[in-house]
Amino acid sequence: MGNTDNQGPLWEVFIQTKPGAPYKHAGAVHAYDKEMAIENARDTYTRRHEGTAMWVVKSEDIVAVQPEDADAFFDPSDDKIYRHPTFYEIPDGVKHI
């Protein structure tokens, strides 16, 4: 494949729909640099004012848990049940806790 077919690296797009809301993955765009990435992302994913803020990040820079490792990876949190409020016994009659 010739170089002229290359559409640049892939960037993942995250949009915040309103101030205070979490950023949510919207999709991906191709672009050759950061400015172009954020402009392409705007034109592609926010033609109807879907966001008040946006992040783009090169896809290759994202570190992800592999699905086959997910069970073992997240396992340690399962045996720490004392992290949940329901673990604790509070005497009857105590209020607002």
């Binding site: 170089n3 002229t4 077919d5 559409q7 640049g8 999709g27 050759y32 640099d33 172009m36 699905p67």
Partner: protein, 318 residues
């Protein structure tokens, strides 16, 4: 067992089907049978190519819109179609095939697009008919695909469906204006309906019995409803809309059937359908040539952009 599954690990395959049955979405890095991946590569890229090729018949009308209002609307719609193509290419790329490769397959004739875009938009009423019927048929299909089992495809569909409704309504508005206009305008609207009705019905693909890949696609919930179910839904929705316009669909057998609760209709001319799929439709060559030409003419932009991107990267490092 299906021949296409003989190389799959039976345990993994069982877990995979259990996830599908439990309505758990499949994500890009999850295990998936090779046949599932191949089906999605074919279906999502065909869907993406259709959005992009579909810009051509409408694009011809940008310079000939009857008003500035109509022109702004048409440009916004066509921009949306390009955007829809991009959402879909982005979803398709999660399957491990690059955008460049998808375009290459299109240019080599290995990938298809919806045959409906090989028909010509002959006059302004066609722009109305395309929005009303072609986008209308696409909506029926895409609403169903919002529930597809592949996560990225499903998310792209949700976003597309939100935007598609504007497309259909702007088309119907054009039809209303023309149907209520002069007798000549009404005649143009009827003529456009006559020419776009069957191509729109063809958009749902062959009958279920002639759709070889359908059963696995249903079992894996890539498709949630069959071609024939979706087509009937579209007919039932659309015929009353034609009646409201005072127009008639070009099918004398198209009547409401009290017993079935659906409209009866005369079957599609499948020879025409298959000819168009195989590349002998009215504009296949023109559509593909145009896409190849624009892609080739854009080569210098990509080359310059790569050089620019590299230069900036160096500066940032230094």
């Amino acid at each position: 067992m299906d021949d296409k599954l003989k190389n799959e690990d039976p345990e993994l395959l069982k877990e995979f089907q259990a996830k599908i049955d439990a309505e758990v979405k499949i994500e890009p890095k999850d295990y998936m049978p090779e046949a599932y991946r191949q089906h999605l590569i074919r279906q999502i890229s065909q869907h993406a190519h259709s959005e992009v090729i579909g810009m051509q018949p409408e694009g011809n009308w940008i310079t000939r819109c009857p008003s500035i209002r109509a022109k702004k609307i048409l440009m916004a719609k066509i921009q949306d179609e390009g955007g829809h193509g991009l959402y879909l290419y982005s979803a398709a790329e999660t399957l491990g095939v690059s955008r460049d490769q998808y375009l290459k397959w299109l240019h080599e004739g290995k990938a298809k697009y919806a045959s409906v875009f090989n028909y010509s938009a002959l006059n302004w009423a066609d722009i109305g008919a395309i929005g009303w019927l072609v986008d209308g048929a696409a909506i029926v299909n895409q609403v169903s695909l919002q529930r597809t089992s592949y996560g990225p495809y499903s998310r792209a569909m949700v976003k597309i469906c939100k935007e598609e409704s504007f497309h259909q309504r702007q088309g119907y508005e054009i039809m209303v204006h023309m149907a209520q206009g002069t007798p000549e305008q009404k005649e143009m609207a009827q003529d456009a309906l006559n020419r776009w009705w069957y191509p729109s019905l063809m958009m749902f693909g062959p009958h279920d019995g002639d759709s070889p890949r359908s059963s696995l696609a249903m079992q894996w919930k890539i498709k949630r409803e069959t071609n024939d179910e979706l087509r009937q839904k579209f007919i039932d929705k659309t015929v009353p809309q034609a009646e409201f316009l005072g127009l008639t669909v070009p099918d004398e057998n198209c009547k409401f059937n009290e017993a079935t609760g659906h409209y009866d209709w005369t079957d599609i001319n499948w020879d025409e359908f298959w000819a168009s799929i195989k590349g002998y439709g009215p504009n296949n060559k023109r559509r593909m040539k145009h896409h190849q030409k624009v892609h080739a003419e854009g080569a210098w932009v990509r080359e310059a952009s790569i050089a620019y991107g590299k230069k900036k990267e160096k500066k940032e490092v230094a």
